[in-house]
């Protein structure tokens, strides 16, 4: 069978990324330009600043991606791009660039749901068997999704308020950590104890949804109360207590979902998938529950936003003949059907 080579774009938030992916499986290149240092100045992503950086980066990223993959436009079969969900101004840069390349070289255009991208990052590191389950945990999303067939998603659970990665960042800001705070909280959590016992929201409710705003408020209240009475709290204990609480919630809901859905694989995707506490607990839980379940956690570089995962997800659309027109627009609040 002839190889399929896709040039993929991702610009939904604060990373400009262009990748070349072969057959949805093999990364020929995956260039990522991250704006973290810029947004650290403001304590979080400023959408207009993000959009401006994307314009500065996009063509250089295309060139680097093609060079590193050692392919020319003649070798390409399609151009793919994230069209949502995300920041509209950011999404538009990837979309306009992808449409321009597709138009200029007469290549088919493929629109990719960013969440599908996160899930199919797993396809770059494992052989996926349908149906499988995915937990997407990132700065913008917290969702449990069944993938019944290629590109066929069924959402089982979602956050009612903050995304889990957002909770990490907000809590991090309160204890004086730079944005994004996930990695540092994870490191601090290795050193402390769960002494605060924050509330595990919605665990008793008969659904697979999440809520993290109550945890965030409890955390902030604890800090304020200590401030008022002049008490110094152990930051490592705070980090541990927060992370344990988050991991408890994610574990309980995910494994409850697994009880009712027969799958052989669980994909954990998105930036928070890099959290060591989460991965460790999932591994322990699989053993404890004697599950015949393969846990797939893509490496860090594929968990954060990147275009390789978009190229992987695009292959499914390519195989099914789903192509987009030059009138493709961003859909900032795109969801699974």
């Amino acid at each position: 069978m002839k190889d399929t080579i896709i040039l993929a774009f991702e610009s939904s938030c604060d990373e400009t990324s262009v990748a070349v992916i072969k057959n949805g499986k093999e990364i020929l290149s995956n260039i990522i330009a991250t704006q973290i240092k810029s947004h650290q100045r403001f304590g979080g992503v400023v959408p207009e600043v993000a959009s401006r950086h994307h314009v500065e980066q996009v063509t250089a990223c295309i060139q680097l991606a093609l060079d590193e993959a050692k392919v020319s436009y003649d070798d390409l079969d399609a151009v793919a791009v994230t069209y949502g969900p995300g920041l509209v101004g950011s999404l538009l840069i990837g979309i306009m660039a992808a449409k321009s390349v597709a138009f200029a070289h007469n290549l088919p255009l493929i629109k990719v749901n960013h969440l599908s991208g996160h899930i199919y990052a797993a396809n770059l590191v494992a052989e996926l068997e349908y149906p499988f389950m995915a937990l997407i945990v990132s700065g913008g999303h917290t969702e449990i999704v069944m993938v019944n067939n290629p590109g066929e998603f069924e959402r089982l659970g979602d956050t009612r308020d903050d995304a889990v990665g957002e909770a990490f960042d907000k809590v991090g800001r309160v204890i004086g950590l730079p944005y994004p705070a996930g990695k540092q909280i994870d490191e601090m959590a290795q050193l402390g104890n769960d002494t605060f016992d924050f509330p595990r929201a919605m665990l008793k409710e008969d659904n697979l949804d999440f809520s993290f705003s109550g945890l965030k408020s409890a955390f902030i209240n604890t800090m304020h109360h200590a401030d008022q009475i002049g008490e110094e709290l152990d930051k490592n204990d705070l980090a541990t207590s927060f992370q344990e609480c988050v991991v408890d919630i994610l574990t309980e809901k995910t494994f409850r979902a697994l009880e009712n859905h027969k799958v052989k694989q669980l994909v954990v995707a998105g930036g928070v998938a890099a959290n060591s506490g989460l991965k460790k607990r999932f591994e322990e839980e699989i053993i404890k529950r004697k599950l015949d379940l393969e846990l797939i956690v893509p490496p860090l570089r594929l968990c954060g936003d990147n275009a390789a995962m978009i190229g992987a997800a695009a292959q499914i659309e390519y195989d099914q003949g789903n192509f987009a027109g030059l009138d493709l627009n961003a859909d900032p609040s795109l969801d699974f059907e």
């Binding site: 400009t16 704006q35 314009v55 500065e56 063509t59 538009l92 660039a97 200029a104 030059l326 009138d327």
Partner: protein, 235 residues
């Protein structure tokens, strides 16, 4: 020389395909549609009408701002990507100068402006000398009061070109001012204006002329931190 020129700096969308100074085809829309949706289909249609393919084009000219941040970014991203990926010449023209070019005869200052809200405008001042627009006041982000003061000090007749803003009209009482209704951009004028502009040498570095910091950057600059250049890192 075959040129593709387009502008999406504000509400309207204008595309022109020219060959050696002659317009071959054009597209214009003033509907409140999203430029991100309409721009590439409009370019495709205009090229078809001109019986050309995008690969036949030698030069791309784009209105580079100021204007709506998103609008300008859509055109600039499209222009730089097309020029980069097809290895074509790229030129950027002021979006203000573009509407100033609608005025072909006037003795005095031609002042194009866009509403930047809250008593601010993006504006510049130009004068016509042997059919060329010469900059008198640079394109910038002006408080309306300051713009009026500067124009008053130049003591010349003024022709404002822009979507009417009541505050600007009211405050121009002490100026010898006229208000042109010719404020709709026409991409054909981009091609004319581009003649005296050098091609972009570094396409990757080609970005919109926003002429305004974001509020977050503005507040951050006030903290006195030094502005660095390594805010974006390839990892």
């Amino acid at each position: 020389m075959k040129t593709l020129a387009f502008d999406t700096s504000n509400t309207s969308l204008s595309v022109s395909v020219d060959q050696d100074g002659q317009q071959l085809a054009s597209f214009f829309s003033d509907e409140k549609k999203t430029h991100s949706v309409t721009l590439l289909p409009a370019i495709e249609k205009t090229l078809q009408d001109a019986n050309l393919s995008i690969t036949d084009i030698d030069e791309i000219v784009v209105a580079q701002g100021p204007g709506s941040f998103t609008g300008v970014r859509i055109a600039v991203t499209t222009a730089k990507t097309l020029a980069y990926t097809l290895n074509k010449q790229l030129k950027g023209v002021s979006s203000l100068q573009l509407i100033a070019a609608n005025i072909t005869e006037f003795e005095g200052l031609i002042v194009p402006y866009f509403d930047a809200r809250r008593s601010n405008v993006f504006a510049g001042a130009y004068e016509l000398k042997s059919e060329e627009l010469i900059e008198v006041l640079p394109d910038g982000h002006y408080v309306i009061d300051d713009l009026i003061t500067q124009l008053e000090s130049l003591k010349r007749p003024v022709m404002f070109v822009g979507t009417p803003i009541e505050e600007l009209t009211t405050k121009s009482d002490n100026l010898d001012a006229q208000f042109s209704s010719e404020y709709i951009p026409n991409a054909h004028n981009l091609v004319k204006l581009a003649k005296s502009i050098n091609p972009v040498t570094d396409i990757d570095a080609f970005i919109p002329k926003y002429l305004r910091y974001t509020k977050a950057e503005y507040d951050w600059l006030k903290t006195g931190e030094t502005s660095g250049k390594d805010y974006v890192q390839r990892v």
